[in-house]
């Protein structure tokens, strides 16, 4: 399989490529956090971002749903194309973008509301009729494997669930607004191995319908779960750069860059 670090420029959006990041530089004030990172995320595949901590994986991930807007000193140059539109442009409807590109956070952050109200929050915001909302809640809870566990206590507080259940609830909540892409920022790092396994199983099912980008510092997880892997490193100026990107199988078994090989074989990181 051809693996290029920089995909050839395309004018019309390539239906195989869902998210196309080009020459991303990222700054927090004067400090450069990302240096010329380009990455093409394939549609309905799982792409993993791996690398030692501090190399900018999460920073890069959060560009895809413009969460960096929340940091006043953050500045981005470059382009990120989603369905032919550069989402970094000022006139992007960020609200709409975040609907389409959902996010699962490192620590589960359910709202202090009932289980039902958590999942229903997005649909209610969108003004869907009650029937549709209830159907969606059930569907999303089933998709995340929670339905059987919570169907009798939908009105109870979401905070009573276990860590793993809460994280799956947050996933259901994100799915309820019908996104195309799901960004996951180390979603299992706070979970026990069994809960982690469930999340990974879910990812395999979900990728049939959603494009998934996952940041993980767990290499084994990346090799288990993802179709494509991007390896990032902090360069000498402490900015993150993309070292190698390709099919997971290639990256882990036939890495091209010696730094990739060192990381994968555990010589550092």
């Amino acid at each position: 399989m051809q693996t290029e670090v920089t995909p050839p420029p395309v004018f019309e959006s390539d239906p195989e490529i869902k998210l196309d990041a080009r020459h991303i530089d990222f700054f927090y004030g004067d400090f450069q956090a990302l240096d010329d990172v380009s990455l093409a995320v394939q549609d309905r595949k799982i792409t993993a971002l791996i690398g030692p901590s501090g190399c900018g994986k999460t920073t890069f991930l959060r560009i895809f749903n413009r969460m960096h807007d929340l940091v006043p000193s953050a500045r981005v140059t470059g382009e990120v194309f989603l369905a032919g539109h550069n989402i970094l442009e000022a006139n992007t409807d960020v609200i709409q973008l975040r609907r389409q590109v959902g996010m699962l956070f490192q620590r589960a952050n359910p709202f202090p509301k009932s289980i039902f109200d958590n999942v229903a929050y997005g649909p209610r915001m969108l003004g869907w009729p009650r029937q549709r909302i209830e159907a969606t809640v059930e569907e999303c809870l089933k998709d995340t494997g929670l339905w059987e566990e919570v169907k009798d206590r939908l009105k109870r507080s979401a905070l009573n669930l276990s860590g793993g259940q809460q994280q799956r609830l947050c996933l259901a909540r994100a799915l309820a607004v019908k996104p195309d892409v799901i960004l996951m920022d180390e979603p299992a790092s706070a979970l026990d191995p069994i809960a982690t396994l469930r999340i990974e199983e879910l990812m395999q099912e979900l990728k049939r319908r959603y494009t998934i980008v996952i940041v993980t510092h767990n290499m084994q997880q990346a090799s288990r779960v993802s179709d494509f892997t991007a390896f990032m490193l902090m360069n000498r100026q402490r900015a993150g750069e993309l070292v190698e990107f390709g099919a997971t199988d290639d990256i882990f078994n036939r890495p091209k860059d010696s730094r990739t090989e060192d990381y994968i074989t555990g010589r550092f990181g």
């Binding site: 749903n65 969460m67 929340l70 609200i95 709409q96 973008l97 975040r98 609907r99 389409q100 959902g102 996010m103 956070f105 620590r107 952050n109 359910p110 709202f111 202090p112 509301k113 929050y121 997005g122 915001m125 507080s157 905070l159 947050c170 909540r173 994100a174 607004v177």
Partner: protein
């Protein structure tokens, strides 16, 4: 005595002193409450205390019904003014308060909390009594509302700031606009602290006397029109205490007991409520 022994002795002395201090600090409230209960119980359990109006001087018996109603009205109107406005300002401060206007508001609010309560009476007088030409319960409510405002404002802001940022991120990542996240997710999460702040402010207002002295003046009779002077429990205590008739002085103690009960129970409830909501 060896040096070490001296040091240890000194340490024990200091510890003893510190224990004396904490006792000295905790005892006044016990003594106060004991006296209020002992001297107020006869009056508060007397028949008609809650339901009767005050009797003329020299006539035994009577009650504080007018004062109870007056307290409810004056504090009620003040709360209707201060709670919504104070809560909203607190919400706005926590959202947009990082600019100069925000700092000015916080500074002004802090200064207001430190002002003598009688200054609020002067404010109420100038703005509503001198202008309207007569004393009224409304002017007292206005004075109390300004007194309550900074308390509610700061309590709301503090409660909102304590909500973890992860909730905000979760809401925004779903594609919710900022105002929606604040009103539908953050504020409900902080509701415990907000309600507590409001309750504590109301308890404080119920106990105030000085701002009422020249705004609502007081009233021996039952008055339901807020545009007219009304009596409150605190005013009753104050006035009856200074009158040389023991029956009225006893009523002062009884009214004081009632006041202390209301205020203390509200305070305790408010703090318990926070702990329950933050399950």
């Amino acid at each position: 005595m060896s040096r070490v022994a001296l040091r240890v002795l000194l340490d024990q002395l200091v510890t003893g002193l510190i224990i004396l201090c904490i006792m000295a600090a905790a005892i006044p409230v016990v003594i106060l409450l004991l006296f209020v209960v002992i001297k107020g119980l006869p009056g508060i359990t007397a028949p008609g205390f809650f339901t009767d109006l005050p009797h003329p001087i020299g006539v035994p018996g009577g009650g504080v019904f007018n004062a109870i109603v007056g307290t409810l009205v004056v504090v009620g109107i003040a709360s209707l003014l201060a709670v919504p406005i104070g809560t909203l300002i607190g919400i706005f401060l926590s959202e947009f308060g990082r600019n100069r206007v925000g700092y000015a508001v916080r500074f002004v609010s802090d200064v207001l909390t430190g002002l003598p309560s009688i200054a609020f009476g002067i404010f109420g007088y100038t703005v509503l009594v001198a202008t309207l030409g007569h004393f009224s319960a409304i002017s007292a409510s206005a004075a109390l509302a300004v007194l309550m405002l900074p308390l509610i404002l700061r309590a709301t802001e503090t409660a909102l700031v304590l909500v973890p940022n992860s909730l905000r991120e979760g809401g925004l990542a779903l594609g919710a606009a900022r105002w929606r996240v604040t009103l539908q997710i953050i504020v409900p999460a902080a509701l415990g602290g907000i309600v507590t702040g409001a309750l504590l402010a109301m308890a404080r207002a119920a106990g105030e006397t000085a701002p009422l002295l020249f705004t609502t003046l007081g009233n021996e009779f039952l008055q339901l029109n807020p545009g007219r002077p009304m009596g409150t429990l605190a005013l009753t205590v104050f006035k009856n205490a200074l009158v040389p008739y023991s029956s009225l002085q006893d009523q002062a103690w009884a009214a004081a007991l009632l006041l202390v009960l209301i205020v203390s129970v509200t305070n305790i409830l408010a703090r318990v409520y926070v702990r329950r909501v933050q399950r």
